[in-house]
Symmetry: C2
Subunit: 615 residues, 2 copies
């Protein structure tokens, strides 16, 4: 027997409950009704007395209710997300009550096309109505009602599971406190629809499909295997496949010169196809992929922005860099629509070679994100406290630390009005935002490039989006924030003017700090030494500096004049004192903090002018 380790939820049983009776069928999106509906589900952990620790897990295409633990002590293979769910794991069953159910249309206990149609007393087959992600979520809600769950701390799922998460947040805004859609999309693109269609074609073209009534017969095993093989290629990345299989031959060193599978990748796919056929129903494959093709809240609500207009949950959106089925760009569409609605959203695009499958494999990184986000949602106070400053400092690189000059932080804090909305660009581990939240009760948002620092911000409970400021801020409305902060960063971006224009567009006021390149030490360095300045404030050689632009207070003044920017405050600073440098600041200030703004009218006029020039 398998030894069940102490981090496992242990023996778990799949239970079944009838959520829709035959005499009161459920009305589906397609207009037809369905009943009875039974749901297979498992639970792990305990619902607490407050009833505020319930988490729903939504599975993907080939998953089932068995997300964690073992069905018996003889079983060697644990549930499909066992490394994520358990005592002390990313979704900690010591803290949370976790529910996972097989979705409607599935073939692992919940009513689906292989269930008996009461009207004919034989399996539904193609008589099963077309279902949608919305229908799946309705059935999950009925299950939670049966279990007397009044609110979910979180809904979490990857791929098609992530679609259900989005549907939950949209349809039941008051029921869901946190939504964690992973490696998913609000709509399949043409390429993914195409792959799904070819897979369904392979099943439908199989002579043994028998119009869906193959039960008792041979069944469309060859077609289903082909569909699975196609799917499997899309779940892996090209890099992942190359590294795993390359051009390795299964057994011989030389080609066999026949049509048998001989490359290792071929026999791998054969195995995937074969084993899938043993555990999955071809009709379910048709129905689930169709539901996935149909998912499109933007179509349902007029636009994605309108779809998310009423959501109330916090969001943690996660994508994986090498996922080409549901791409990082598709996750960004979710984030941008939430941002446009000013919702509480965090986003990370996790660096991984495992493609779409990464949501089943990158469990350490993903688990840390989920754990931090759940804690910060469940116990906000604790969340911020649990993360010690040393943890986040450890995550910062030396260069990042070099910029974290405390004196400009202190000064910036003094400039922010209490209760403001604040966006911090390159917010690092979120220290400044956390201080401002604590001291000034601001509504914080952060943008940061480093995955580690994003994770630290998530654990702090800060809404944080992983993003390169050079790519602009298209998702944000004009004058979205009272303050935008760009601390010690303007000199490191490739296109300062483009970045600055964007900040002035989305922020009523933009607070900028930068090192003064015309400080007397720098001037002397070049003038007398004939060398590019290396000083305490600019501590890098000419060739290894992250600073790729050099500017003085005077340069920035002129820059602002040229861009029709109002300089509301200009505070030249030394490195260590909060007191402004008043005497010849361009010579004696080591850094400066500016508060700038530009009227909304400028942006419009400027746009018109540019269009006129183009025309």
């Amino acid at each position: 027997m398998a030894t069940i380790d102490k981090n496992s939820v242990g023996i778990a049983a799949t239970r079944s409950v009838r959520v829709v009776q035959a005499d009161a069928p459920l009305e589906l999106s397609c207009g037809k009704s369905l009943g009875p509906i039974d749901v297979a589900y498992e639970t792990y952990g305990e619902l607490n007395d407050a009833g505020d620790n319930a988490i729903l897990i939504c599975h993907a295409l080939s998953g089932d209710a068995h997300a964690a633990g073992y069905h018996s002590s003889e079983e060697t293979k644990a549930g499909w997300w066992d490394n994520m769910i358990g005592p002390g794991k990313g979704i900690d069953t010591n803290k949370y009550f976790v529910i996972c159910s097989n979705f409607l249309g599935g073939c692992s206990g919940t009513t689906g096309p292989s269930s008996i149609n009461p009207a004919t007393s034989r399996p539904y087959g193609l008589e099963f109505p077309i279902i949608t992600i919305g229908d799946m979520v309705k059935v999950q809600k009925l299950l939670l009602d049966k279990l007397e769950i009044r609110q979910l701390l979180a809904v979490i799922g990857g791929s098609i599971g992530g679609m259900q998460v989005l549907q939950w947040a949209i349809e039941y805004p008051d029921f869901v406190r946190a939504a964690i859609p992973i490696a998913t999309t609000t709509h399949l693109g043409a390429q993914s629809v195409a792959f799904d269609a070819v897979g369904r074609n392979a099943i439908l073209a199989d002579a043994d499909f028998a119009g869906g009534q193959y039960h008792g017969g041979k069944g469309p095993d060859r077609g289903l295997a082909i569909a699975r093989m196609i799917g499997h290629i899309t779940y892996l990345s090209e890099q992942g496949m190359r590294e795993k299989f390359g051009r390795e031959l299964r057994s011989a060193a030389e080609y066999s010169y026949d049509f048998n599978s001989e490359f290792a990748v071929e026999t791998y796919l054969d195995y995937q196809g074969r084993s899938f056929v043993e555990r999955f129903d071809a009709n379910s494959y048709l129905y689930i992929t169709k539901a996935s093709d149909y998912f499109d809240p933007a179509k349902d609500y007029g636009s994605l922005r309108q779809a998310f207009a009423e959501v109330r949950s916090r969001f943690l959106v996660v994508s994986f860099a090498s996922d080409w089925l549901f791409t990082p760009a598709q996750s960004r569409e979710i984030v941008d629509a939430l941002v446009a609605n000013r919702k509480d959203v965090s986003f990370c695009n996790i660096d991984s070679p495992y493609g779409h499958d990464a949501f089943l494999l990158e469990l350490d990184v993903l688990g840390a994100f989920i754990a931090g986000f759940l804690t910060a949602t469940h116990r906000p106070g604790l969340g911020a406290g649990e993360k010690k400053p040393t943890d986040s400092a450890a995550a910062a690189t030396p260069i990042e630390n070099a910029f974290r000059t405390r004196v400009d932080y202190e000064l910036i804090e003094s400039l922010i009005e209490p209760g403001s909305t604040v966006l911090d660009i390159g917010c690092g581990d979120g220290e400044l935002l956390a201080r401002l939240t604590e001291d000034k009760d601001i509504k914080p948002e952060g943008i940061e490039l480093s995955q580690k620092l994003v994770s630290a911000c998530v654990a702090r409970g800060l809404p944080i989006i992983q993003h390169d400021i050079e790519d602009g801020l298209a998702g944000y409305a004009d004058k979205n924030f009272d303050y935008v902060i760009l601390s010690q960063t303007v000199q490191t971006v490739r296109n300062p003017q483009k970045v600055f224009d964007e900040l002035l567009r989305v922020g009523k006021k933009v607070v900028v700090s930068f090192p003064n390149f015309a400080h007397w030490r720098s001037r002397a360095h070049l003038f007398f030494g004939g060398k590019a300045p290396v000083t305490e404030q600019l501590p890098f050689g000419w060739h290894d500096s992250p600073n790729i632009h050099f500017l003085s207070l005077r340069d920035f003044d002129e820059f602002c004049r040229g861009l029709a920017v109002t300089v509301e405050k200009k505070i030249p600073l030394s490195k260590r004192r909060l007191r402004p440098v008043r005497f010849m600041p361009n010579l004696f200030a080591e850094q400066a903090v500016y508060v700038t703004s530009r009227s909304q009218a400028f942006g419009l006029k400027e746009t018109y002018r540019r269009e006129a020039e183009d025309g």
Copy 2:
């Protein structure tokens, strides 16, 4: 009837010739023999008296001998590469004699699995021997022998056609003057093998396949259509499909809630599958994809470098940025192996959204590259002359022009020994290399990032590789060049030390020129003006400068000392005079040219030292 325009080759007939007789069969790679072999081919243009203008076109999976023109005045669809081949087109039939043949194993006139097996008097089916790209090329060579072609000016082909091009260059080094492999690879990666395998599975799993003896029967149309659909998805890019189809529905505004094709991309694939089945043979699909899976000259020769060791043709390697079937990285492997063998190779990764299919669609850009390369190969003198300097100057951006300060070119030219091998990094339109080739009889190679400038160099007959120097020079051997030139570029790269290390590795001498940041005007600008320098030599503002590092002569001296670089010559210059600045050069020189070097031993020692530190 269709109006045949004057740029068409007009009416073209497919002819057939027996190249292998039944009694003298051809020995194939798999060890079996095959005969008789008939070849279907077309020709366009005229072979000239010198016999030096013949070009062979190799087609891809679903192509045939009918590459250009029309079979009759009633035909509305021209040959598959008609926009590339014709009077005045990229492959100009006024200048060249163009041959295209259906390859061995095909189903459009050349012997293949649907031909009659003389041993059984029925179609071969699966009794046809497994063939390779090498076998295809052997048969093409037999055709050219029949046509009394003694040498090819060029072999050109995309995709599987590109594999044949590579095979030609490797197997018949003296027969091919120029090889133009487009959107191809020396070996399919695991992902592409997987897609091929699934496609073959779909055919083999079709109940109507009948072990390959389906002739006269229904045939595996459904399987072949599925294979074609899978293939078609891989020929387009995700972006291309998104832009072409999006989530558009074929006819209705609302979902049909059934399993009929309803998304536009589904009906498009249905059409592609259906029309393919009408014109293509399922067995040929099996044999051709297998030949493509097997293609792997690195396996045949021990390594890719060894495979290319004896090639003698000039190479123009072309990839397309959005091609994810045969990726730009795979084309780079070809380029790197040729570079390692010091072959004459040019490379461009054409920016296109059309994925793998771009070789059939991006005909303007591709045609210009091919035309320039063919001219430069066919009439080298003319090639250089045909391209007027104004053309290439027009291709350069203002910033590029700003760097082309003639005085450092003149000086650099004076430093190069006649007959040297020279690599020019960021060579622009190739002016310096062309001058050096003309005046000093050097062996030139260039590296350039801009597609337009690469095209200008190709037309000049210069070996030019599109490449970002920041990515290093891994393909080049140590001390590969007598001189490497880095003119007015060191201050614009992100990581000057890494770049400089690479140049010193591949070049015996490295010639560097850069603007002097410590010129008195710059110093004065900062010292007295308190602003980042904007001078004639550094004509950009702090925020819009392409210069992201600032260095003086003294900075560079120290930099060289720190990296154990020998400064062989140091020539401070003013902007306009060739005479060196001798008095206080760090103050009075506007720019400088250095000749530097580093002994090979340093690199080794350095490597050992770094490894020791890592350990």
